[in-house]
Symmetry: C2
Subunit: 151 residues, 2 copies
DNA sequence: TATTGTTATACTCTATAACTATA
DNA sequence: TATAGTTATAGAGTATAACAATA
């Protein structure tokens, strides 16, 4: 196979991602959240032991998220307390208020997304979500070199 | 409907886009192209009348692409000549060499992408590509406020 | 006076290096 | 000496404002 006639995947996915972020920005604004703040709240569903681990998980530099954590903590959305067993480490977790804000923001965002998904046929919607979840969960190395097939 | 249990679309799409770009970077490097250079070559399949129009089409600032155009022109991949009818305007088009480089890069990129798509079931692959092409072609305003449905 | 393309400047985001406090 | 977190600094990428040429 050679002639598919489709645009490059990245050429569709990257601008779509940017557009989605722009569309969802007002929801975040209404909740007083930055994008990184929201991503942190999502990730802290399970509490995390070090800031470095959190940063790595969400694809940020460890220095990048410090201001974000400061802000979330000041507003009582997360807890950040020294680990008694190793006082260099900060134990990170959601507060009840943090969970409430996260649920509210995520609810609004997914509702908006669902309206968009409703414009797809049921078959396309299911395939899209299946594929997306599969590809998003794929480790980078496997994205890079999938075993040769249709080329 | 409320409980879908899926991650946010943007939370899957944005990192996937970044990862795809990283995966494809070596192909661009091998062709001596930057990401913006490649995007410009793709867009110039049909020639474009002004640099502003080109910039807008590919989602860049008009000042952003000047260095890119300088480089592509220096290397003989594009032609940029003043419009005789309005000497403020630069007429932009691919050279034969530009088309060759673009085809080579795009061939390598899509081959790589096809290997990735081969890991999906045929149904998911088709749904994914259909949905992606639909969503990527959607004007921003429609992305923003799809008519209410499943919320 | 308005517009195309360009250059110069400023701003945002991110990463790198240097510091502190613990271990 | 090594590591978690922090701060200060520098770099990339982008947009904004000012400019020259043309209409």
């Amino acid at each position: 196979m050679a002639e598919t006639g489709r645009p490059d995947l990245a050429a569709m996915i990257v601008p779509l991602g940017r557009a989605l972020m722009a569309v969802e920005q007002p929801v975040l604004d209404a909740h007083g959240l930055t994008m990184w703040g929201y991503v942190v709240l999502l990730r802290l569903e399970e509490s995390v032991r070090t800031q470095s681990a959190l940063a790595q998980d969400i694809g940020a530099d460890k220095t990048r998220i410090i201001g974000t954590l400061d802000d979330l903590q000041d507003r009582g959305l997360i807890e950040r307390r020294p680990d008694p067993d190793d006082r260099r480490v900060r134990l990170l977790s959601l507060t009840a208020e943090g969970r409430r804000v996260r649920d509210s923001a995520q609810g609004a965002i997914q509702a908006r997304e669902n309206r968009l998904l409703d414009r797809l046929s049921p078959a396309d919607r299911e395939g899209f979500l299946n594929a997306l979840q599969f590809l998003a969960a794929l480790p980078k190395e496997e994205l890079a070199d999938s075993p040769g097939g249709s080329e």
